[in-house]
Amino acid sequence: MTTPGTASLWRNHILPFTLLVTLLGVATVIGDYLLHRLDLAWVGRYLGIPGTLLIIGSLTYSLRKRKVIASGNVKSWLSMHEIGTWLGSWMVLLHAGVHFNAILPWLATIAMGVNVISGMVGKMLLKRSREHVQAQREHYQLRGLSKAEVEQSVFWESVTFDAMAKWRKVHIPIFIAFAVLALGHIVSIFLFWGWR
């Protein structure tokens, strides 16, 4: 039997996460099928370019978060980061197709997949953190608890923030691995491809 808290965790966090990952897989299979069916398989070959540009563009959020860029609403940048990376990954997956030729691009694709899943886990953790912080802090302060008591009461807040910090420690190396592998693939294309 599930408790209300467990049901909420499932409904608000795990279910959207699962749906987004599943949707990416289903959209890729449908897109690949349609490209082949419409005799447009060659289009997939070039979808890696807009896909990569979308992913690179969506990194603006990281720059804004680290205050390298001063303008713009962080929340909007985050939404663009989420949408851009999802769409970009979808295009790159279509670009990869189900054609196993070279190892390097496939390592890059796998790293991208792990990166996307990690990103969605981060999205889930962030949402949960926000809910927890806002609701719990206000709740404990309104009860007139002392500072120490509030600190103790918002223990879960720090736990969730810790979770975000720990998540970043995993997400960033995954991203770096993906970026380097993708760069290796891109460099090899520029080096050998004839663009025709």
């Binding site: 398989a41 060659w42 054609h99 691009p105 420690k169 520029f190 080096l191 004839g194």
Partner: protein, 239 residues
């Protein structure tokens, strides 16, 4: 990110970079090369120029255009040429990549048999039978050359033969070819292949009109339209 993690990550990426240089055909090559080029598997720059891809100049270093279809790259006569007449000498320009792709992963995007005939010189474009064999059926057996009267150089099927010039295939005549062209012999036809046109009925109808020569139906009937009957030498005769 911890220092150890950074070192592990960097070490892995360096190993991958080294592997890409040592085994380029496995790490970055888009699939195996054609059997004839298997010895070049690890020598990417035998065919690829840096940053501009595989080039015709590098192909023709081994495959001399004047010898293609006649001699191997070792100078030996080709025992079983793919075409009866070599045609690479009749191309408007040497552009190997327009038709050829060596890597299995790239060949997938080249539709088999998609040869652009516009690459041939105008005279060579008319010599279909230098490369193509005529189909072995009664229709094609009696035709030599001039394929373009029925077929385009983009597609063999569908043929552009205009049946309406001989007889309009309307909804009552939308049947298999063999119904009229028995045993797919397109040099002959019969209108008695269906129940509507029995020899007796046709004979009776024509005799009633005073017409005694009615063996060649399409001489007068180019469609099922009874108002569209042409009678050579007698003008249009129908009230």
């Amino acid at each position: 990110m911890s220092k150890i993690l950074k070192i592990v990550l960097a070490a892995n990426l360096i190993v991958l970079a080294i592997l890409a240089f040592v085994y380029p055909h496995l790490m970055v090559g888009p699939g195996k090369l054609i059997p004839g080029h298997s010895k070049l598997e690890t020598d990417c720059f035998a065919c690829h120029a840096p940053f501009s891809g595989a080039t015709t100049e590098r192909c023709t270093t081994c495959h001399k255009p004047e010898e293609i279809g006649k001699l191997t790259t070792l100078g030996q006569p080709i025992q079983k040429p793919l075409t009866s007449t070599p045609f690479h000498q009749k191309l408007v320009k040497q552009d190997c990549l327009a038709c050829h792709s060596d890597h299995a992963g790239v060949k997938r995007f080249h539709i088999a048999g998609r040869f652009n005939h516009a690459l041939l010189q105008a005279d060579a474009r008319k010599e279909c039978q230098s490369c193509h064999k005529s189909p072995k059926d009664s229709l094609h057996e009696q035709i030599t050359g001039n394929c373009s009267q029925c077929h385009t150089q983009e597609k063999w099927v569908p043929a552009t033969f205009d049946h309406d010039k001989y007889f309009v295939l309307d909804r009552d005549h939308n049947v298999k070819c063999a119904t009229c062209h028995v045993r797919n012999d397109y040099s002959h036809y019969t209108c008695y292949g269906c129940h509507e046109h029995s020899p007796e009925k046709i004979r009776r109808e024509h005799i009633e009109e005073g017409i005694r020569d009615f063996k060649n139906c399409v001489e007068c009937h180019r469609s099922a339209d009874e108002d569209d009957i042409r009678m050579p030498g007698r003008g249009r005769e129908r009230d």
